[in-house]
Symmetry: C2
């Protein structure tokens, strides 16, 4: 995975440049708000979702430079969700990647507004002509992003998650319920990431469907790997506290299926996601590596 | 103003129908989240911003039915901002229009997610082909809405407002600072409302500029009238607690200029906003009535 890691890091660096430029373009912003947004966005991270946008766009001959702003918009969306999820009223997390979360560094109201600002900025970037010169493409990206991030996607998934944590609802969560929750909370944005390249590249419906199917499975792979890390990883390698779910008695795919079955499910889904890439032949190899990376990740 | 009031109520009823339909279209949404969004959106209100969208669109021959979804998207944006502003971490308001606010009826996390969901839904509605059949128009609406609602608009204005309330910054607020704060917090969305009709109708740049100029002044009129109501109105007529700003020692245009100067400024700005409508002749009369309504309102 050395080559893949290098490529991921190279794209992350390009995305960081675009994100910095986008934040710098925001003028007339109260300084405290600007700082909070910078902390939220420029806190490192693998930039895995933007990587998927850039690489899926490459399948259709879209130059990296022409995918970077859409990829950055998606990352802004992801970052806002972390800022709000970390709030005391939500997951109450003080640390993320070893640094204070936005509310811990500032306060709750600054974090709420920074999140609102990033969410709005994500759509502003998508609507910008620099993101793509065709209005139809920008509109399709905006519609797909809104659907993925909204109440039947990411926000709805976080709602299900908090209903479990705070209200104990449902009392007996089934594997189906957890899968649906995770498909909404984590899967929707990852699916969008895989799909975005097809939209940017004006791909055929078949190609778009193949990437969507791959993205769907990749989202679950990503989440099961996360659950496995929480259950079995050590905090130092993972870079955040582990064993949280178990300690909280939280239902995950791992707790409901057991370690072995979870590992088998993960492997089968990873194989399926890679099979979905078959129509792209040799060109799909990098995305297949991304699936393997998500499945095998140690942090 | 009887005729104007009737017209406002008629449009409000059409907008309520569109908002209900939009909320009903959202499937796969956790029920608690759906209920919180309904409370946030269907809580009455004059629907003044959507009224401006519909009436400014009429100037360019856009049928009401073709302006309703853009108008509803703007109202969703306005409603999300109220849900987040009311939070304990922000303005800590338990009541709005005599009903419990979303966090008071549910809890903080539900209110944060309901707000996030409404904000995202606003952009989903704008990106929808049913809002306008031309992708360029939808893109222009989306870009203008994001700019108005974002960190250099509404979110930035709320940030300035909370920095004053919670941190006492700046220590000596000037009239210029307060005007800028209010132009961002309240003015930006009202300006967008006036401008949206011009975008929907494919108006000339001159017509669009005239409406933007009118909307800018109308936003200030709206805010000074609000400050005057807080300073002089009685709670029963206004429908919410008054004297809050004075009790909190909050700097407003009224507190900084005094009642008389504030009333004169308001009258002059209302005259100016009406003058901006001159290019539209007789057709601009309804929007002029809207300016008078905002200036004279008792609640």
């Amino acid at each position: 995975m050395g080559d893949f890691g290098d490529r991921l890091a190279r794209h992350a660096s390009a995305i960081d440049g675009t994100l910095t430029a986008i934040l710098d373009e925001q003028t007339d912003v109260p300084e405290r708000l600007h700082e909070a947004m910078r902390l939220a966005v420029m806190g490192g991270g693998k930039r895995f979702r933007p990587f998927l946008v850039i690489e899926s766009a490459r399948l259709f001959g879209v130059a990296d430079g022409n995918a970077l702003r859409a990829a950055a918009a998606l990352e802004l969306m992801h970052c806002y969700s972390l800022v709000h999820d970390d709030l005391p009223a939500m997951d109450n997390d003080r640390l993320r990647r070893g640094r204070p979360t936005v509310w811990a560094a500032f306060d709750d109201w600054t974090a709420i507004l920074a999140g609102d600002g990033l969410l709005t900025l994500s759509f502003e970037v998508i609507a910008d002509e620099r993101t793509h010169d065709c209005a139809e493409v920008r509109g399709a990206l905006s519609a797909a992003l809104a659907k993925s991030a909204g109440v039947s996607g990411m926000v709805g998934g976080q709602m299900h998650d908090l209903m479990a944590d705070k209200l104990g609802e449902p009392t007996e969560p089934t594997l189906d319920h957890i899968r649906r929750l995770q498909a909404m909370k984590t899967g929707a944005l990852i699916r969008f990431a895989a799909e975005a390249g097809a939209i940017l590249g004006g791909a055929s419906p078949e190609a778009q469907n193949a990437l969507r199917a791959c993205g769907d499975k990749l989202g679950v792979v990503f989440q099961i790997a996360d659950d496995l890390l929480d259950a079995t990883g050590d905090a130092e390698t993972v870079g955040k506290a582990t064993g949280k779910d178990t300690a909280a008695g939280k239902a995950t795919q791992v707790s409901l299926m057991g370690l072995e079955a979870a590992r088998e499910t993960l492997a089968a889904l990873a194989d399926g996601a890679i099979a979905d890439l078959a129509p792209f032949g040799e060109a799909g190899k990098i995305l297949a590596d991304a699936v393997r990376f998500a499945a095998d990740r140690k942090s």
